[in-house]
């Protein structure tokens, strides 16, 4: 498998092989796209449990619907949308059924730059600037970071934030982050 090919093209190839009867390619597809889907769900402030449930549901629906999906190139967007809707649905359900103790569910937005996970200075600098952005921008950038450049435009559009009609333009969120980083002497550029 050519791992440098765009995510959408790799996914379409794996899905096409799977539909032709190669079940192992479904595993490849799951391994390829689950990180993107994880961060899609978590960027909506879903708890770990909700994120896991939403992602499993989306995959099962893909298998159930696999015969009716006409354009394999569209499955990345299809999965992102399905995970996002399922995440919202589960969060609404959870909100109705339980009174949240201590406010919002666990999210990474509560992490601090001092967290052990942020090992390098570079990551701490990046984290500081990311946290200066609006929540909407953070959510968008978090997801497209896992989509790779050629898929940036379609994934951003799927998330309701088109980034340009003529080509993969930077968009406001990435432009803001870029400007902030490039003017920070502690960022290596």
């Amino acid at each position: 498998m050519n791992t440098t090919a765009p995510l959408g093209a790799q996914a379409a190839a794996a899905f096409t092989d799977y539909r032709a009867g190669d079940r192992e390619r479904l595993r490849d597809l799951v391994a390829l796209l689950t990180p993107l889907l994880w961060h899609t769900a978590r960027s909506q402030r879903a708890s770990q449990q909700v994120a896991e449930d939403a992602i499993q549901t989306a995959w099962v629906r893909l298998v159930d619907a696999s015969d009716s999906i006409t354009d394999p190139k569209g499955i990345v967007s299809w999965l992102v949308v399905t995970v996002k809707r399922e995440t919202w649905r589960l969060m609404r359900l959870a909100g109705r059924e339980t009174v949240p103790e201590g406010g919002m569910p666990e999210t990474v937005d509560d992490a601090t730059p001092e967290d052990a996970a942020l090992r390098s200075d570079e990551q701490r600098v990046l984290w500081r600037h990311v946290n200066e952005l609006s929540e909407r921008c953070r959510a968008l950038l978090r997801v497209i970071a896992f989509a790779a450049t050629p898929d940036y435009a379609s994934v951003a559009a799927t998330l309701g934030m088109p980034v340009g009609s003529i080509g993969p333009t930077r968009g406001r969120c990435l432009a803001k982050l870029r400007t902030a980083l490039l003017s920070d002497p502690s960022w290596e550029a």
Binding site: R23, E24, L26, R27, V30, A31, T34, P35, W38, H39, R42, Q48, E52, I55, Q56, W59, V60, V63, D64, V108, A111, D115, A117, L118, R119, E122, Q123, L126, W127, V130, L141, R142, I144, A145, F146, A148, T149, Y152, G164, G167, P168, T169, R170, G171, R172, L174, A175, K176, L177, R178, T179, L181, L182, A189
Partner: protein, 155 residues
């Protein structure tokens, strides 16, 4: 000029943008990694959905942390069907000896990236020699029944 104008927003992505996005992906992978067993659980859900299978329950033994040379037996049950397996581990592979309460049943051992299939003999016994170490689950097929799938165990 719109109020929300951001310089550079309409420019095409370049290598610097790609570098920033790659670093962002590393950052989020570090602070909020995909749970290590999520892929395994998705694969299992998909196997169940695809096969329209019944799910067997573990009724005896342990599914995880089995790293010795040979395991105690592990038993799965679904309705009238029981499946008992023991494993013998070598460096990279595992031998699985099993017994199923249905003579002639077809048993798949589904490991990461490979599926081994065997037909149980008239006493319900079967043996698989070269299953890779890692997670494995079983699918049992019988005439006239829905397939039965077991939870995955670590071998």
């Amino acid at each position: 000029m719109p109020e929300d104008f951001v310089p550079g927003a309409d420019e095409l992505l370049d290598a610097t943008d790609e570098r920033i996005l790659n670093r962002l992906a590393s950052l989020y992978s570090a602070i909020d990694p995909v749970p290590s067993d999520l892929l395994e659980r998705i694969d299992f859900s998909l196997a169940v959905a695809e096969l329209e299978a019944d799910i067997a329950e573990l009724t005896r033994g342990e599914l995880v942390g089995v790293r010795g040379e040979a395991t105690d037996s592990v038993t799965f049950t679904s309705g009238s069907l029981s499946l008992m397996v023991t494993t013998v581990v070598s460096a990279h592979h595992v031998r699985i000896d099993g017994w199923v309460t249905s003579a002639g049943a077809e048993v798949d051992a589904v490991a990461e990236g490979v599926t081994r299939t065997v037909v149980a003999d008239e006493a319900g016994r079967f043996s698989l020699d070269d299953v890779p170490r890692g997670h494995v689950h079983f699918v049992v097929r019988r005439e006239g029944y829905r397939p039965v799938i077991t939870p995955s165990m670590e071998v």
